[in-house]
């Protein structure tokens, strides 16, 4: 049986990274994720790795890029404004197809927002590629400490398999809430050898590798024409969309109204389903686990079966755009957003009772 410990989502991210064999972390302090770096600054030197506190998130992402070229598993974490500073680097990493993981523990925005409290306001930015030039990232949205621990390991596997940057998208609630976590190292299977790593040609029988971070130069497609390079990128993203969609449903089979959500808001929705079912309301939940690729087909089927849909997210509506796109206008999509919070201050959250109140208005 797994060892069980009681830890926050942030600590689960840090421990999960170590479980995945990540020994190098580069990061800059920003609420609400600074404890990820704090934990790793203590632990990584013990296992022969390194923690570097960067001077900015711009530096973090370029340390990550350089670290990814080293062939080792590397990670950074950030939030909101810091995540935005990483945009250029995320695009370069995507172009170069070097594997690495970025954790974004979302905080309320825009701008300085509420100074680091809860919000799900980086969704659109993260899922639309998080960089210039049409790049894409896989985005995983864990909803518990256990999923943080497991999904950061999955993130390292997926980035090694596809050469696509993987973003683990959590938020203040998931990052700061403590829950029991089963400690387990997950074996996802073999990953490609990183024979392109910049270790000096002496360790590669004299062969040299060069990375340029631009069209026609990534390590897995050297010397391609510009259209061939973009076709290679397109096929890679299509392959991910075809094979890596992950989602979860709860009481959705006979639901008359489907709640659709992700991350911490999906936890709230689960509570609302239980409250509603106790009253005899046929509620169900559809939770996206990969938010890019988005479970479009699966969501459309579930929504059409239920006939009514309510999206819950802690923003003015970002995730809802993907739901609208999946549903293709076949049923109305309702949204409960940041206005559903229980209080006006920065520490307000949407409670299950408020979701249920919204549901009653729709049934």
């Amino acid at each position: 049986m797994d060892e069980k410990i009681f830890i926050t989502g942030n600590e689960a991210i840090a421990r999960g990274a170590i479980a995945a064999g990540c020994k190098y972390f580069f990061g800059y302090p920003i609420t609400p994720q600074s404890d990820i770096g704090e934990y790793l600054s203590a632990e990584l030197p013990k296992i022969g790795g390194a923690f570097i506190q960067s001077e900015s998130e711009s530096a973090s992402i370029y340390m990550l890029y350089g670290g990814a070229m080293s062939g080792e598993r590397v990670m950074t974490s950030t939030s909101g404004c810091g995540f935005a500073l990483m945009a250029e680097g995320i695009s370069y990493i995507s172009a170069a197809e070097v594997p690495c993981v970025v954790v974004d523990v979302m905080r309320m925005g825009p701008g300085i927002g509420t100074g680091g409290q809860q919000g799900q306001t980086d969704y659109r930015y993260a899922t639309s590629g998080a960089g210039h030039g049409g790049s894409r990232c896989i985005v995983l949205a864990p909803a518990s400490s256990q999923e943080c621990f497991d999904m950061v390991q999955l993130a390292f596997y997926l980035t090694d398999i596809y050469g696509v940057l993987v973003i683990v998208l959590t938020d203040f609630i998931i990052g700061r809430m403590a829950e029991p976590v089963g400690i387990r190292t997950i074996d996802f299977g073999p990953v490609p050898e990183k024979d392109w790593a910049l270790v000096g040609k002496g360790k590669k029988e004299g062969r040299t590798d060069r990375h340029f971070g631009g069209a026609s130069y990534p390590p897995r497609s050297v010397g391609m024409s510009v259209p061939a390079y973009h076709e290679h990128q397109r096929q890679k993203y299509q392959n991910i969309m075809d094979t890596e969609v992950r989602y979860e449903t709860y009481q959705a089979e006979d639901a008359e109204l489907l709640l659709v959500s992700y991350g911490s808001s999906a936890r709230v929705c689960r509570g609302a389903v239980e409250l509603g079912r106790a009253e005899g309301l046929r509620l169900g939940l559809f939770r996206a686990i990969t938010v890019w690729p988005f479970p479009r087909e699966e969501l459309r089927e579930a929504v059409l079966r239920a006939g009514k849909v309510l999206v819950v997210e802690d923003s003015i509506g970002e995730f809802v755009d993907d739901v609208e796109f999946a549903v293709l206008g076949q049923v109305p999509v309702h949204l409960l957003g940041v206005w559903g919070r229980h209080q006006a201050g920065g520490s307000g959250i949407i409670h299950p009772e408020r979701v249920l109140e919204e549901v009653r208005g729709l049934l």
Partner: protein
């Protein structure tokens, strides 16, 4: 005479790749590339060297060496080199960056790498302007110098003063070596070669950061012939940017 009887007295260094130098006629980068190749060969570290270019004219440099390498986003080579060095401490990391790349967009990145005491070597290419984008003002542009963005000459009231990076690097504790050199005369070429060797040795011996600033001709953006460029360096650039070693220590306490 058959080829067996020929003795090679001069030729391309073995670390130069087959790709031709991609710079303009009269540009000094070819000579600086040779200095780098020769020093890496003579120090015997080619098998473990990783060379990083920046954005601008040094973007193509990783192609020109038979070394592992990468071209870095604008100004970010010191951050990327930091990670590569920390993951593989036995590698030798060289960043090659222009004056826009290091002196403007990447100044913070560079200074913070010095501040952290990284064991890296940086070759800084000061040609008093932006070459690849067509001759705009750089932080190193001389006062009064006409560029495409200082059409009436650089006015300090509008555009500030030339930045002295070699002197700036020398005040940082983590710097083991900082020098400014040129390749505009044969004697200076020899001095420059020695400076680059010292800057590499500081990294190889684990002492600290090694930094060499090259004053370098840019005939295309200066709108001068190659020989006029030599005069410009001699008369104008040396007056603003004195040559010499600004720091050379064998230990950082």
């Amino acid at each position: 005479m058959s080829s067996e009887n020929k003795v090679k007295v001069y030729g391309a260094p073995s670390l130069r790749s087959f790709i031709p130098i991609l710079h303009c006629p009269g540009c000094h980068y070819g000579a600086i590339i040779r200095i780098l190749c020769e020093n890496i060969e003579e120090l015997g570290v080619g098998d473990r060297t990783v060379l990083l270019g920046g954005v601008g004219c040094s973007y193509t440099w990783p192609m020109l060496f038979v070394l592992d390498g990468a071209a870095c986003p604008h100004g970010r080579a010191p951050a990327m080199a930091t990670a590569l060095k920390r993951v593989h401490p036995d590698t030798i990391l060289i960043t090659c960056q222009g004056d826009g790349d290091l002196g403007a967009i990447g100044l913070g990145c560079f200074m913070n790498a010095l501040s952290r005491g990284e064991k890296l070597t940086t070759i800084f290419l000061n040609n008093a302007g932006y070459g690849m984008t067509g001759g705009q003002m750089a932080p190193t542009t001389l006062l009064g110098q006409v560029t495409t963005t200082t059409p009436r000459g650089r006015d300090p009231e509008i555009a500030g003063y030339p930045i002295h990076v070699a002197e700036l690097a020398a005040v940082m504790k983590g710097t083991a070596y900082s020098a400014r050199v040129t390749v505009h005369t044969p004697a200076n070429y020899q001095k420059a070669k020695k400076a680059v060797k010292l800057a590499l040795q500081k990294q190889i011996e684990g002492i600290g950061y090694g930094f060499v600033e090259f004053l370098s001709a840019c005939p295309a953006s200066w709108r001068m012939t190659p020989s006029e460029c030599l005069e410009f360096i001699d008369e104008k650039m040396l007056a603003e940017y004195p040559l010499g070693e600004f720091k050379n220590v064998d230990r950082i306490d």
